[in-house]
């Protein structure tokens, strides 16, 4: 396990290097001048501009310098369109909203998906099962740039129950709530036993897991209740992932429920709730965990659309605007940052998966 993580960590810089090189090469291959403006710029001014952005040097030197700055100082250089802002400034301003929105969406999606999927599997072929699975299939097929505007149309424009767009999250209650939820989770998980085989995946771990999920869900629900501007974007972003997670969870649970150890648990006379929460859940959740990596990629991609629809000042919107106005430095910076986030999240998901599924042996 340790060696696997180490190898993956060593792999990460290579992936990022390929990403930076690819993007940089693409940008350098761009025809035309990045300062091509409507008005004609004199030779001197152009030379000064090129010197400021280092464009007067050969491409390979530019690449080396850029890489050096990014690696040593985490400095993505100046923006080409906003003369007084650096890429770091823009990213620093935008990362908060994007992360907040993404976290809300992932937590909502996991909470809704797990609940619907579990109930669907336990009550297989019930009305709830059919309804939730049809809804999930539909939710997976409708793209978020359709759901977003349609939700706006229904809830904001026609019904006027929610704001159309904007971003003003209100955190005031959150810290207290987070601490309280963590305290509950801590109390619940006090009795963790470390068995002879190390960390045992039993009742306690299920409690810890449920406690954390509960804490996360309560925080998100409170946040959404206090900042209505976040509701529609978070729901829009969460919907396809909730659908996918519900289907995966249902399929995973159905597979687990048919297995011998669940039958044994039932045969012991345990209540259905105990069987599901303590025995079946830990196996059934595995497909969902392995889906979290792609889901996070999807959330980052989806935020491009959702931030545009709801006018949220995140890096997704900055990226789209930078791409449309050909602000190459900003585009490059955001691609590299998102690449880094994706690689790290995927690594984290794989490590968690390794913990959860003892059958997995990373060679």
């Amino acid at each position: 396990m340790g060696r696997y993580v180490l190898r993956r960590l060593l792999w990460t810089p290579l992936v990022l290097l390929v990403l930076v090189t690819l993007t940089f090469a693409l940008i350098k291959a761009a025809p035309g001048n990045p300062f091509a403006m409507d008005r004609v710029v004199s030779e001197e001014i152009r030379a000064q501009l090129e010197a400021r952005y280092g464009l007067d040097k050969p491409a390979i030197v530019q690449f080396g310098q850029y890489l050096g700055r990014v690696v040593t100082d985490f400095d993505f250089g100046p923006s080409m369109k906003f003369k007084d802002r650096t890429v770091n400034d823009i990213i620093a301003n935008g990362i908060g909203p994007t992360m907040l929105l993404g976290a809300c969406a992932v937590i909502l999606a996991v909470a809704i998906g797990l609940t619907a999927g579990t109930i669907g599997a336990v009550r297989q072929n019930s009305v709830f099962d059919h309804a939730s699975m049809s809804a999930a299939t539909f939710g997976m097929s409708v793209p978020n740039f359709v759901t977003g505007p349609v939700l706006v149309l229904v809830f904001a424009l026609s019904w006027k129950a929610l704001p159309v767009s904007g971003f003003d999250p209100s955190f005031s209650l959150l810290p207290a709530l987070g601490i309280a939820a963590l305290h509950v989770a801590w109390r619940v998980t006090e009795r963790i036993r470390v068995g002879p085989a190390g960390f045992s995946w039993g009742r306690e771990f299920a409690c810890l897991w449920l406690g954390l999920l509960l804490a996360a869900v309560t925080s998100v629900v409170t946040l959404l209740a206090r900042s209505p501007t976040l509701i529609l974007p978070a729901v829009t972003l969460a919907l396809p992932f909730a659908s996918r997670i519900a289907r995966l969870m249902r399929a995973g649970m159905l597979e687990v429920i048919g297995q011998d150890y669940v039958r044994t648990a039932r045969a012991k006379g345990l209540s259905e709730t105990t069987v599901v929460v303590r025995h079946a859940l830990k196996g059934g959740i595995l497909p969902v965990v392995s889906y979290l990596g792609p889901a996070i990629t999807g959330v980052l991609t989806g935020s491009l659309v959702v931030e545009k629809i709801f006018a949220i000042p995140g890096i997704g919107r900055e990226f789209v605007e930078a791409a449309l106005s050909r602000d190459y430095m900003l585009v490059l910076g955001i691609v590299v940052l998102d690449g880094l986030l994706l690689v790290l999240f995927n690594l984290a998901v794989d490590v968690v998966y390794g913990f959860l599924d003892p059958r997995i042996r990373y060679e």
Binding site: L14, V15, V18, L19, L22, T23, L26, I27, A29, A30, P31, T137, F138, M140, S141, V142, P143, F145, V146, P149, V150, V152, L153, V154, L157, S158, R247, L248, A251, L254, P287, T297, L300, T301, L304, V305, K308, I309, F319, V320, A323, L324, R326, V331, I334, V335, D338, G339, L342, V343, N346
Partner: protein, 467 residues
């Protein structure tokens, strides 16, 4: 693949087809996809209107709106052939077939009152009617409107009174100035019937209320209340309404399907060709080559792909070829991995050993024996990749990276959804411009996903129920 064309002993494809036919949802998906594909192929015939022709006075019509088949203003002159560009289609289509035709238009007259509006900057200070009489207020009824006298443009206002701000449609000026406007009222009582008779390529007679009308006659579309050609009412029906620019929404969806499906198909073919070949070579070569090729795939897998596609489209001109390449490059990784896995298991089989023993070249084994055996996977990936690509292309159009073809921006479904979103209005009153393109796209993706899942179950029953 009909049953009587297949050999009596059902081959794997016939069996798969049998299994697919039992899956009602997949068949429904197949039907929807086929209908969409046919409509897209024959868009020119199927679409009720040409999506490039806007009828500027038919903007924002709700779904099902009927509209008389007219052009904005047209001229008929007794004894002359009408020019195609200034008459409605029914007037030139019927000409020249050697028969006599008659059309009747119920036309109402306009009453025009001259207004002299004194403005101070953007504010109305004084309104004068006929004979310089000062008016306290001009209230406009449902049949009334105002227009700028010289320019002929409409002024959007419900009423006009001193002290109010400049209404929409009036150019802003500074200082004191005078706006010459017309108060136009359509007089419902003054309805007249204009009869246009035509035959042998020319308008033979124009009669107004029984009396012959000599010379040319200008007819404005807004004055026509009813129109009959040879006794039949001539009207447009915009089943799904029109958009802000007067384009028919249904026709735009059908022509948009053409772009979206074409992009989906071509990019999928590009990606699958690359993926299958790459995976097959990697799997068959094995050893160090295989490890190296699959490591490369692993690295590329970790990339934030859609971001790279956006960079690619930003950097190069946003033309269709760049889009095909960009989307094709995104989608080849998964087929490459899966085909490699398949090849790894197939290449151990006896028929491959037999081919090797016979001295067949590796390339030929790959193309003749191995790749054909992965076709089941390829078919499944095709049906599942097409919707993914359509989704990506629409996503790009939606965020503003509309692809151009021959210098013209292409209206794919994503672009339609985006323009529909922008057209909603403060209360969502123009919902149809968003809802119908979105529904068309969702339905197509939905059907394609069902068809793909059904095909996967049919071609590989062991996989059933996964994911």
């Amino acid at each position: 693949m009909s049953a009587d064309l297949d050999p009596p002993s059902d081959g794997p494809w016939a069996q798969a087809w049998k299994r697919l036919r039992r899956n009602a949802m997949a068949i429904a998906g197949l039907v929807v996809v086929s209908v969409m594909a046919l409509a897209a192929t024959f868009a020119g015939t199927v679409a009720p209107f040409d999506p490039r022709i806007s009828e500027s006075w038919e903007t924002s019509l709700p779904p099902g709106a009927r509209h008389l088949d007219l052009v904005n203003e047209f001229v008929v002159t007794a004894g002359q052939a009408p020019r195609e560009r200034d008459v409605p289609p029914w007037l030139h289509d019927g000409l020249g077939d050697g028969h006599d035709h008659a059309c009747e238009l119920d036309v109402v007259a306009e009453e025009v009152k001259q207004l002299r509006v004194t403005m101070d900057g953007a504010k109305v200070t004084k309104i004068q009617g006929d004979g310089a009489r000062t008016l306290a207020k001009v209230e406009l009824g449902p049949e009334d409107h105002l227009r700028v006298k010289d320019a002929g443009t409409r002024i959007e206002a419900k009423a006009l009174e001193p002290g109010m701000a400049l209404p929409e449609g009036v150019p802003a000026k500074t200082g004191r100035w005078v706006l010459f406007a017309e108060w136009v009222r359509i007089a419902p009582d003054a309805k007249r019937t204009v009869r246009v008779a035509y035959g042998y390529g020319t308008v033979s007679a124009v009669t107004v209320a029984g009396a012959a009308h000599a010379g040319e006659m200008r007819i404005r579309a807004e004055h026509v209340r009813d129109l009959r050609v040879d006794g039949a009412r001539k009207e447009h029906v915009h089943v799904l309404g029109t958009d802000l620019n007067g384009y028919d929404v249904l026709s735009r969806i059908i022509f948009g399907a053409r772009i979206s499906l074409l992009v989906g198909l071509v990019a999928t073919l590009v990606s699958l060709s690359i993926g299958v070949l790459y995976g097959a070579v990697s799997g068959y070569a094995g050893g160090r080559t295989d490890v190296l090729m699959m490591r490369a795939v692993d690295v590329l897998y970790a990339m934030p792909y859609i971001f790279l596609v956006i960079v690619l489209l930003t950097v190069f001109d946003r033309n269709l070829i760049v889009l095909f390449v960009a989307l094709g490059l995104v989608q080849w990784l998964t087929p490459a991995r899966v085909v490699r896995g398949q090849i790894l298991s197939i290449k151990r089989r006896e028929f491959v050993d037999a081919a090797v023993t016979l001295g067949t070249t590796p390339w030929r084994i790959l193309v003749r024996h191995l790749i054909p055996n992965t076709m089941g996977v390829v078919v499944v990936f095709t049906t599942l990749t097409i919707p993914a690509v359509i989704l990506e292309e629409s996503f790009l159009s939606f965020i503003g990276l509309t692809v151009k073809f021959g210098g013209e921006p292409i209206d794919s479904w994503g672009a339609l959804v985006d323009s529909g979103r922008n057209a909603l209005g403060v209360n969502g009153e123009r919902w149809w411009m968003l809802v119908f393109p979105g529904a068309a796209m969702s339905l197509t993706l939905f059907s394609m996903n069902f068809l793909g899942d059904g095909l996967r179950d049919a071609l590989d029953p062991r996989q059933k129920g996964r994911g």
